[in-house]
């Protein structure tokens, strides 16, 4: 399943690449790219595991950049 998440307050470019490599390591994530300029995360994930993955992604973002929020539910 392909999915695009919109971010807010992603102010630091190296955080974006840190997020990308952290999300890549999650189970069930086939492909991910974090676009700093568009503030978007493009994902390809297993559909059944999407909910748990999303929770993990939210944790990762919060950890790397505390102000950064995911706008999509």
């Amino acid at each position: 399943m392909k999915k695009i998440l919109n971010l807010e307050n992603l102010d630091c470019a190296s955080c974006a690449s840190k997020m990308e490599s952290a999300i890549k390591k999650l189970d069930g994530v086939k492909e991910v790219s974090v676009n700093f300029i568009l503030q978007k995360i493009k994902l390809e994930v297993d559909e059944e595991r999407y909910d748990t993955i999303l929770i993990e992604i939210k944790k990762i973002c919060k950890k790397i950049e505390p102000d950064c929020k995911i706008l999509d539910k």
Binding site: S33, I37, L38
Partner: protein, 627 residues
């Protein structure tokens, strides 16, 4: 300015006011210290909080940690004002940086503002707005003046002018009527249109283009990869150097105190942050790609932008690239003894009347030139003579329209010509009135484009590959100014020729191939850079090429090369500037000449300047091209 930025701004202003207050009033040192601490916390609380959080999540050496350590250190050594000022300066820099990034983000999303928000459909006699993703193929949608066309389709009803600028860069509106194809992303200007949807949202033109541009940053240029590699080695080296700076001198030199050395080492670390590079380089590429897309040039990745800037050889396909790709009347030549204006008109009139029932490409070209609807009452006994032409009666007189064989057969004298193209003779009774030359017309701006490519874009070789006959190929090449021609090639031979060219290229000079994407996909893929022209609405060409020019305007090739060179120049400026300034300040910091405040400038100041410089890539336009 975002809400977060506004909050930061308020904090900064409060801090400045408090600092002024402290310096004006004369109070006891103890109270002054308390005031300094309060001011410091107002401006620096967030930074310290982040630093502590980051330590717990295992990321120690980040900016927040360094700033907190440096400023708390200054407090301990009694430099209260300096501590607050450094934090203040850092926050101002961060604010600027965030503002600049936000501004470029907005400019970029404005450039890509082709995503339709809604579609109008009719339900029980009422027009309702729905999400374009939910509209199915075959649904009728209504587009009012001023609205974006949400999905690709065919006009069922209505007539209007469409603004195609966002997709093609073309500023002249396009007129559409019933049965014309319209693409999502066009803007309806004048009339109400009813459109039957032919493609789902996800495969509609606007979605495809946005997808391309947004994904372009996934294909990274060498300059970008360099930055990633650079950061990987750079950070450990800098941290190691800082440690040496802090602890080696006190051990080796008598006069060096540990405190002073730790201070220098912290200044050193603040300067070293590679933020300027990490933000500005991708931003520069993105700006270049975004700016190009505004002009109807889609670049699929920053790597292609980089390769394009190193191109010195351009190989062109002929049909559809240098030429219009369809038959047109290029000349009407009356027989010499009866030459005058009216006879030119007469030749065309007779020809189009005679051809009025034919749908042969030649007949279509003649009728297109004639512009009026042929009055079919004026013609009788029209006979099509296969491979020769047409005979018939126009206004009661016997006419022949066809090749020289036809006229010679009828014993009409023909003056032969060496014009290149298809020659159609027109005879009335027993006189040859003249001939019409039909050929694939060279694009108006082809010659001018090739001249500019050589003069301004440093293109050294231009080559043409074509399956067409030698004489035609050479004539066209001469007319537009192509250096080398390979003609009468079969499609697979085009690939072979291109490989020959690639073999003889110097190491870091690249070869671009320009074609219309119709049957030259293998060549497009084989070249260092494949450029497809006139690709709007043709998915195959968009897939095969690295750079896609939406309309068939050949002059956009020079624009694309210009944008690529300019973008690369800006990116390189940023790399040299940022690394140069950093190294300079690192040395000053190590020697103890630069203090913490200058260090903060070297960090955030350089970032802001580099970001502002990157934003120039968004604005590279045709207008300053001629300079």
């Amino acid at each position: 300015m975002t809400k977060k930025n506004q909050k930061e701004l308020i904090k900064i202003i409060t801090t400045i006011l408090l600092l002024l207050l402290i310096s004006i009033i004369s109070i006891e040192m103890k109270i002054k210290l308390i005031l300094y601490i309060i001011t410091y916390l107002i401006v620096g609380y967030q930074v310290i909080k982040k630093a502590i959080k980051n330590i717990f999540s295992g990321q120690i050496f980040d900016e927040n940690f360094l700033m907190s350590l440096a400023t708390i250190g200054a407090f301990i050594t009694g430099e209260y004002l300096e501590a607050v000022l450094v934090m203040l300066l850092y926050q101002i820099g961060e604010l600027f940086q965030s503002y600049a990034v936000g501004k470029s983000r907005r400019s970029i999303s404005e450039l890509m503002d082709i995503r339709p928000d809604y579609a109008n459909i009719e339900e029980n006699g009422k027009i309702v707005k729905v999400n374009p993703e939910e509209v199915k193929i075959g649904t009728k949608i209504i587009i009012k003046p001023g609205e974006k066309i949400p999905l690709d389709g065919i006009v069922e009803d209505g007539e209007s002018l469409l603004d195609t600028k966002a997709l093609t860069g073309e500023s002249i509106p396009r007129r559409v009527k019933e049965n014309d194809i319209v693409l999502s992303g066009f803007i309806n200007k004048t009339g109400i249109l009813t459109v039957k949807v032919t493609k789902e949202f996800s495969s509609s033109t606007a979605s495809k283009i946005l997808d391309l541009v947004e994904n372009a940053s996934n294909k990274k240029a060498k300059a970008e990869n360099f930055i990633t590699k650079f950061a990987r080695y750079y950070t450990p080296i800098v941290v190691a150097l800082a440690l040496c700076l802090a602890f080696l001198p006190p051990l080796l030199i008598k006069e060096a105190t540990l405190l002073e050395c730790i201070k220098r080492s912290m200044t050193f670390l603040v300067i070293s942050c590679p933020c300027a590079l990490v933000i500005s380089v991708p931003l520069g590429f993105f700006g270049g790609i975004g700016g190009a897309s505004r002009q109807g040039i889609l670049i699929k990745g920053s790597n292609y932008l980089e390769t394009l800037s190193k191109t010195n050889t351009i190989v062109f396909d002929k049909t559809g690239t240098l030429t219009e790709g369809r038959f047109q009347v290029v000349k009407i030549k009356p027989t010499i003894n009866i030459a005058d204006k009216s006879s030119e008109k007469k030749i065309l009139e007779i020809a189009s009347l005679a051809e009025s029932y034919s749908s042969h490409p030649i007949a279509l070209a003649i009728k297109e030139k004639y512009k009026h609807n042929p009055d079919k009452k004026r013609i009788q006994d029209i006979k099509e003579l296969a491979g020769k032409g047409i005979s018939g009666k126009v206004d009661g007189k016997q006419v022949y329209v066809g090749n020289d064989t036809l006229l010679l057969e009828k014993n009409i004298k023909v003056s032969t010509t060496n014009e290149i193209g298809t020659i159609i003779y027109i005879a009335e009774e027993s006189n040859c009135l003249g001939y019409i030359v039909i050929a694939d017309k060279i694009k108006d701006n082809a010659k001018e484009t090739l001249t500019t490519l050589k003069q301004n874009n440093q293109i050294e070789n231009t080559v043409m590959l074509t399956g067409d006959k030698k004489e035609i190929a050479e004539k066209i090449a001469k007319e537009v100014g192509i250096d080398k021609v390979y003609s009468q090639l079969l499609p697979q031979e085009k690939v072979e020729k291109l490989e020959d060219i690639l073999k003889n290229q110097p190491e870091n000079k690249k070869v671009a191939f320009v074609g219309d994407g119709m049957n030259d996909a293998p060549v497009l893929t084989r070249a260092d850079i494949g450029i497809a022209m006139g690709a709007l609405g043709t998915d195959a060409a968009i897939e095969a090429a690295d750079i896609v020019i939406m309309d068939d305007d050949i002059s956009k090739i020079k624009d694309a090369i210009y944008i690529s060179k300019k973008t690369l120049r800006i990116v390189k400026q940023n790399i040299y500037f940022a690394i140069g300034v950093k190294i300079f300040f690192l040395i000053l910091g190590a020697l103890g000449i630069a203090n913490m405040m200058e260090a903060v400038f070297a960090d955030v100041g350089v970032s802001v300047i580099a970001i502002l410089n990157s934003m120039r890539t968004l604005k590279i336009s045709k207008s300053n091209h001629l300079k």
